[in-house]
Symmetry: C2
Subunit: 182 residues, 2 copies
């Protein structure tokens, strides 16, 4: 079955600092026309960092869309010209003060592929070490939490505490692949 849509036009309706919004007109496989609302986002990186004691590093932070505190792996937007690996190491250092000797590629994810263009690159680092203090952006408030991996497993199986998609993916992939990664 033919699935591709062909672009007729695109029009930007909002250009912000974090994302842009455009409205596309497309031709469907049957020749009919449809409208598509798209959010353009430049993407980010996150890293599941595990200490020698099999604890994961989490950042506790306020997330305005939910008016809630969330627990997430260290992560952030790619700076212009920065590759995903560099961004993951930078965010780890900025948000936690820890450093990794190397990163394992855990693949890319599409957070909400129906209308959002964001790609998040996920990495894994073992035996991370504290080498300094966290040093975040001016408008970024967060605090570091360490959690034993087995506690994270329990909370994820129960569907509690972790809701952020990249964080759940990073932890579940680690749990599935632990024997191969250590």
């Amino acid at each position: 079955m033919e699935l591709f849509e062909k672009e007729i036009s695109r029009k930007y309706v909002f250009e912000g600092k974090i994302f842009k919004v455009r409205c596309d007109k497309v031709t469907l496989p049957d020749g009919k026309k449809a409208d598509r609302e798209i959010i353009e986002h430049s993407g980010g990186s996150g890293v599941l960092a595990v200490t020698e004691n099999d604890e994961i590093l989490l950042v506790k932070q306020y997330r305005r869309p939910y008016d809630e505190i969330t627990y997430e792996i260290p992560a952030g937007k790619l700076n212009p010209g920065e590759n995903p690996k560099e961004a993951a190491l930078r965010e780890l250092s900025e948000e936690t003060g820890y450093e990794a000797e190397g990163l394992v590629d855990f693949g890319k994810i599409y957070p909400s592929p129906g209308y959002l263009s964001e790609i998040v690159y996920i990495f894994f680092a073992k035996n991370v070490k504290k080498t300094g203090d966290a040093h975040t952006d001016d408008d970024e408030y967060l605090s570091l939490v360490k959690m034993p991996v087995e506690e994270a497993r329990k909370l994820i199986e129960e569907g509690r505490h972790f809701y952020d998609a990249k964080t759940i993916i990073a932890i579940t992939k680690y749990l599935l692949m632990k024997d191969k990664l250590n």
Copy 2:
């Protein structure tokens, strides 16, 4: 550490069919002010449906933000007044023609919590059965693919083929909890 931000104002800058965009002004924990760009989305449900032969049902579809074909679990937006479980069963039926006897709650996820308010509710259904044909919306083109669970495990471990966040979470949770779920 105080992490919460207080709202000063909110202003809608785009109101579409799929999402709305607003620009908020907030007070940070230190009293300074900051701008926040937020996308409001009404949320959705997805279901990992597994057949008697331990195959998972996937929908193959075109995703305009990436101009690519993706492989995702059956999923869609909640209709007004519909609860997440009803939406999951409806989407399963519409997108695949299969029905589930019951659903296991796999928890909720926040696809991109920094700026997006969407919540996706994920469910699991075993021994799903084909009871009819798929019957999708007018502007929705998709095709059904069945994949053995062990093939999905391999692809996810290699970081290939699956990029959609809800799909990766549903499959990895199933793989982690398989003994408890069967």
